[in-house]
């Protein structure tokens, strides 16, 4: 069982909707991540928070807005998405801050997003 919890597991939203994906970890990990995964492709990094501060934004469109309210929580706010944004959105965490290359990544079960 994963110790990174994501809600909701499935989300269908219209292109004018505003919704949020939520993620929680209680392992005391210092970095948290959002990845996007399309079918039959590897996970694609979107954002990294290290010690609750945004450290990496992989040139993600502004219709995706991350938020880290505290060291255990990570949100991804969604607004005016396009059908091509439909994908599995994976939250993840790692023990040390994002600058440490020895980190291994613990993924949540993901949120399946469909934009209609």
């Amino acid at each position: 069982d994963t110790e990174v919890t994501q809600t909701p597991k499935h989300l269908v939203m219209g292109m004018t909707n505003k919704k949020s994906l939520k993620c929680e970890q209680h392992m005391g990990h210092r970095a948290m991540y959002w990845y996007k995964q399309k079918a039959k492709k590897p996970p694609e990094l979107m954002f990294v928070y290290s010690y609750e501060k945004l450290s990496i934004n992989e040139s993600v469109p502004s219709r995706f807005s991350p938020e880290c309210p505290n060291s255990s929580l990570l949100n991804l706010h969604l607004h005016a998405l396009q059908p091509e944004d439909s994908a599995l959105y994976l939250c993840a965490s790692s023990q040390q801050g994002a600058s440490w290359s020895g980190n291994t990544i613990y993924f949540g079960e993901g949120s399946w997003l469909t934009v209609v």
């Binding site: 991540y33 492709k41 590897p42 996970p43 994976l90 994002a98 980190n103 990544i105 949540g108 079960e109």
Partner: protein, 112 residues
């Protein structure tokens, strides 16, 4: 930028046969990690290799890290239906911290 190539893209085997997937990076890696993703599931961390030439075993799985720290392999002996899934290698370049570059993955199917 860094690229990680993984072959084969797909592998179909009969249960009991062996399976190997190979990973090659365009740059030297500080470490290599392997993840398994079951159909409909999420990636799960399997192992991390750090040292040049390192070999690690987990039951029927054998992982190797090349001497130059640019290539790696995963070998499964006597596959079982529980081995079905996509295997990804991933590695950070020396200067990229936790920014992992994933290979495209090898999708393994096992016929009983």
């Amino acid at each position: 930028g860094q690229q990680v190539m993984q072959i084969p893209q797909y592998q179909h085997v009969q249960e009991g046969e062996d399976f190997t997937t190979y990973c090659n990076s365009s740059t030297t890696l500080s470490n290599i990690q392997w993840y398994k993703q079951r159909p409909g599931g999420h990636p799960v961390f399997l192992i991390q290799l750090v040292k040049s030439g390192e070999v690690k075993k987990q039951k029927r799985l054998t992982f190797q890290f090349g001497e130059a720290k640019k290539n790696s392999s995963l070998h499964i002996t006597a596959t079982q239906t529980t081995d079905v899934g996509t295997y990804f290698c991933a590695g950070p370049a020396w200067t990229s911290g936790s920014r992992l570059t994933f290979g495209e993955g090898t999708q393994l199917t096992v016929n009983p």
